[in-house]
């Protein structure tokens, strides 16, 4: 085991504070250090994931106080899985943008990499923390990094997107604080496990109100339907790799926070159905919006929102299989959508408007990028033998086992819509003639490596899904087993009385 959970947060923070100083020494360090940190986080969380798989959950207390009193970090199979996924994606995004951002001035470049690192660290923090207020703080860290990254390019509409994001983010943090206030006023504790063990004492009315405020606060991060207006704008206007990071990292953290609320913290019976309904609405609205898009990244953004809807549908099924399917979907989406964003932004790199029709005929000029984009499209619509198929299959079987035939039908109809718009783009890439004034941008070596790693993972999971099934099984069992979670966290110190 390399490192410990707290290092996943502390090291990036340390690095973030150091980068301004180090940047004065040698400017290149500003780009290199975040990469090293992200690599460390990736390796560390992967090795801890292995440790957790064999030896059970790591609970790390902070500042020397046991669970309900101090803040603690929970590195369970689920959080380990997500943390590994996120740090891996963070590293890939860094790798992609390492030289991508070379032509940017020193000051913004410095900020870009700090924010990228903190985005990942914040998202990891959201996932591994065991304390709701701490989670709120991490949501803010992620949020501010995300606002700044969205507004990274001057001169575009990025400030507009960022402001919308910020407006929603501010509402989100208000809702979260109100929910935390309700919980704290009733239960006198902020620790998730402690809350989970006492939530049954809380009067139902307050409980549900708190849950609703949580759902709204976290729903904004998790891009559920009526709360996701900011998402397409932010994805579109942020730099390409950051779109990938949003889709692969930030949303996953939001989804995690949401399901942790619903599955572990609250014992409200109807919450699953709400998740299911919201997920379905999100899925349908987002996918139907995606089909009419003219900008490539915006289409990908809507598609990403739709996939998140599907994830919520899978969680909303509420069975172990459903959770398994949802985690599988999250994994696949976290791999495939970043690939699409990375290769897509490479495809429209030199076009001004980033329209879909500007990718016409680029298959000939940037064969590698185009192939990866096509691979990503094939995988995300769930064509076998690529990765997306297995997750879609597991969602469908989970739904079928609960007899939700209508939902299966809806998911499949929406998949057809998905096919239409992805294949329109793939067709354009390969079978149309290139616009004459457009100069294709050859991807740099690091970008090629980053994208091909993702492509290889898609193929590996596609041909042998068993490589991830153990991890996913552990993770889904972990999420379903609330008593075990409480026991793990509170075992060291005794729970507070009554």
């Amino acid at each position: 085991m390399v490192g410990s959970p707290v290092l996943l947060i502390a090291i990036p923070l340390l690095a973030a504070f150091m980068i301004p100083l180090l940047g004065m020494i040698w400017k290149e360090l500003v780009r290199i250090i975040p990469g090293l940190v992200l690599a460390f986080m990736m390796i560390s969380s992967a090795s801890m994931l292995m440790y957790v798989t064999n030896n059970g959950t790591i609970i790390q207390t902070l500042a020397g106080w046991e669970a309900p009193w101090g803040i603690n970090l929970v590195f369970s199979p689920l959080t380990a899985f997500l943390a590994t996924l996120m740090t891996f994606m963070g590293f890939i995004v860094w790798l992609y943008s390492y030289r991508f951002k070379r032509n940017v001035d020193f000051e913004p470049a410095k900020k870009y990499f700090i924010f990228l690192m903190m985005l990942v660290a914040g998202a990891v923090g959201i996932v591994i923390t065991g304390d709701i207020f701490n989670q709120f703080v991490f949501i803010e860290i992620t949020g501010i990094s995300a606002y700044a990254l969205t507004a990274f390019y001057t001169g575009r509409n990025s400030a507009e997107a960022s402001f919308k994001y910020l407006l929603m983010g501010a509402l989100s943090s208000s809702a979260l604080l109100i929910a935390i206030a309700i919980i704290y006023s009733q239960l006198g504790t902020l620790n998730m496990a402690d809350i989970a063990s006492k939530i049954h004492l809380m009067p139902a009315g307050y409980k549900v109100t708190a849950l609703i405020f949580f759902m709204m606060g976290i729903g904004i991060e998790a891009e559920i339907f009526p709360l996701n207006g900011w998402a397409p704008d932010a994805y579109t206007e942020a730099p390409g790799p950051i779109g990938a990071a949003f889709a692969g990292i930030v949303v996953k953290a939001g989804v995690y926070a949401m399901v942790r609320m619903v599955f572990t913290l609250f014992d409200v019976s109807g919450a699953m159905d709400i998740l299911l309904t919201i997920g379905l609405i999100t899925l349908i609205v987002a996918e139907t919006a995606a089909i009419r898009q003219e900008k490539l990244k915006r289409m990908l953004a809507y598609s990403s929102i739709g996939q998140m809807g599907l994830v919520f549908v899978a969680f909303g099924i509420g069975t172990l299989e459903g959770v398994y399917a949802a985690l599988f979907l999250m994994l696949n989406h976290a791999i495939i959508k970043p690939l699409l964003f990375l290769s897509g932004s490479q495809l429209v790199f030199n076009s001004k408007e980033k329209l879909i029709k500007e990718v016409n005929g680029l298959g000939k000029y940037m064969p590698f990028t185009a192939v990866l984009f096509a691979l990503g499209s094939f995988a995300i619509v769930g064509l076998p033998p690529f990765a997306g198929f297995w997750s879609k299959l597991s969602v469908l079987t989970a739904a079928a086992n609960e007899g939700m035939l209508l939902i299966i039908a809806l998911i499949l109809i929406v998949s057809v819509i998905e096919i239409v718009y992805y294949f329109r783009v793939v067709n354009r890439i390969y079978f149309f003639d290139k616009a004459e004034d457009l100069i294709p941008q050859k991807p740099r070596v690091n970008a090629v490596i980053a994208m091909s790693v993702l492509g290889a993972i898609i193929l590996i999971i596609g041909f042998n899904p068993d490589v991830v099934s153990t991890v996913l099984h552990n993770a889904s069992a972990d999420l379903m087993d609330t008593p075990q979670y409480i026991k793990n966290v509170l075992s060291a110190g005794q729970s507070l009385t009554n």
């Binding site: 949020g143 501010i144 400030a159 943090s173 604080l177 206030a181």
Partner: protein, 124 residues
Amino acid sequence: MENQMFEILRYGIYGGSISLILIGLYAALTKRSLIKIVIGLSIVDGGIHLLLIAIGYVKNGTAPIFSPGFENAVDRMVDPVPQALVLTAIVIGFAVTAVALSLVIRLYRHHHTLEIDEIKNLKW
């Protein structure tokens, strides 16, 4: 009598904080000027902070600071946890407000207007 007074006090504080939240939200939802929206958001923040502090308040409470000779006043001390949370929340709220205002400046530079209805190049 004393209890009743305390009840009224509670109602007053909660009512004040909730009305602050609602007023702020109203501004954020209806005002067309970006700055007004940010003002609304900061008012909401203020209301929430007051709400949190009010949760921790106990009857005839004292600040949770021990002074020599009064170590036994624990029962009357107000709840320190919400205060700690509010400390954090205030700083975070300020950070968000600052970022929001810098975005407003950027938007003004770009669009030459602060009307939120005009700033929708990105839609659908």
